[in-house]
Symmetry: C2
Subunit: 280 residues, 2 copies
């Protein structure tokens, strides 16, 4: 099998390394920066540069670009993609991508599958890419309606071969709704948390809870702005939800209402225990 990887950043670069390490497949890579392609060949992450000619030989194309770039690339190369080949994207939002690319795939005789590898690092780029990035991570797949089960199975198997221990099948809508809570809201809250004026003077008082809450504050604002604006309804709903809930705690504290405050905290504790599968 020939695999083409478009975008050799943290995700695409790690995909390349993991596939070369764990499978017998040929991997061709494309990147805006020529030096990255050369480096990827040098370290054995790809076999060669992905040319227009090689692109037509690929059975699987993995597009590891930002959302709009992903859409643009697939649209502009749709005519060159082999009939029956599969195109998998790696974006953190799925509705925008799937809605844009499903008809393109149908018209051009290839299969599009939405993918979201739930893995990352604080640092981006091929330099930080590593073959173990996906070890023990989850891959969310959002196959187009009518995708054959064996095609989903093929991608699932590849994911398992390169380290993912969990492959979830979802719809683009469900993905975007849940991801707004599990990932996007976490980044917004963390980013907002660190902006307290008190943050500048906390030295030596730094509890583990503070470290946890602010770990993902250091994000790539260009990528996350695009991801957030591709999922505005679900994310704004999550933000407004936590704003409203936080207001309840603030009110109870200002009114020194111990019963209400205790009940609010107990509700949160029990919710967490329920989700973690603990008794209470």
């Amino acid at each position: 099998m020939n695999i083409g990887i478009i975008g050799l950043g943290l995700i695409g670069g790690s995909m390349a390394k993991a596939i070369k390490q764990n499978t017998p497949y040929k991997v061709f890579g494309l990147d805006l920066q020529d030096t990255i392609i050369k480096k990827a060949i040098l370290v054995g992450a790809i076999d060669e540069a992905l040319t227009a000619e090689l692109l037509s030989t690929c059975d699987l194309l993995i597009v590891a670009l930002y959302p709009q770039d992903t859409i643009d690339f697939v649209k502009s190369h749709a005519g060159m993609i082999k009939k029956g080949a599969m195109v998998l994207d790696c974006c953190g939002v799925k509705q925008v991508i799937c809605e844009a690319l499903e008809p393109v795939a149908r018209e051009n005789g290839f299969i599009f599958m939405g993918g979201h590898p739930m893995a990352g690092l604080a640092h981006a780029g091929f330099t930080h890419a590593k073959k173990a990035l996906f070890n023990n991570a989850s891959m969310i797949l959002t196959p187009v309606k009518g995708t054959r089960i064996e095609d989903v199975q093929k991608i699932k198997l590849l994911c398992e071969n390169i380290g993912f221990t969990n492959t979830q099948i979802s719809t683009p809508e469900e993905h975007d709704r849940v991801i707004a809570f599990t990932s996007q809201l976490a980044h917004v809250v963390s980013n907002a948390y660190i902006k307290s004026p008190s943050a500048l003077e906390h030295k030596g008082f730094s509890a583990g809870s503070y470290k946890d809450l602010t770990r993902v504050a250091k994000l790539n604002e260009t990528m996350w702005t695009e991801l957030f604006l591709d999922n505005p309804e679900y994310l704004a709903e999550e933000i407004d939800g936590i704003i409203e809930r936080l207001g309840q705690y603030s009110k109870a504290i200002k009114e020194k209402d111990a019963d209400t405050l205790s009940q609010l905290l107990k509700d949160g504790k029990e919710r967490k225990m329920l989700i973690d599968g603990e008794k209470f």
Copy 2:
């Protein structure tokens, strides 16, 4: 030196174990539950039960109770405390405690020092107490004005002997202001985060960021209600601050204002990098 420990829960029990392990001092322990005292003697965490008679022989009393219980205990036993002895508390708030107990100490001829061992576990009680609980943790001390430097030094040395790697000297006001941000706000946000309706259906989409954000949601609501209501101004200010900041992200997302959203995220990223001592 004789040390009395009042309250053999997670903190007091761990103090007892760590002191017995790392120092030659005698340790006497008191707990509401007689079985806990017996158990503590059995496992060598204390030498014997802290009787009224022994209390008068203690050079150091460590009170590891909830805030109001701490105040009540010291007040009701003030007359029995040895002149010149030191009393150290372990509460997560300091103004309420120090304001209540400084005059009591002065009137009764002992030294009071506020203490906040920045260590904890999701589980409470002597059963979970361990001698290594304070390893690599910070201890915040808030000595009363006029405390002799050698008395502070004595406590600092004891802290280092039982595992703390960082002892910060602060005022009760500064402690409560900073702790509202580094610890209390983190618990409120985490507790509010987990209550999103989406939390019940996130299975398999569970990113590391979500895990971090909700780790401290599972809290003891009785203890935290008391701690929060002993620090209402600073904490409500922190909650209202993050509510206001979150509103800015929500507004930018709803208005699809990429420039503002990107700037908000960039500001948070740079704040985090500044605090972590990184260049940007």
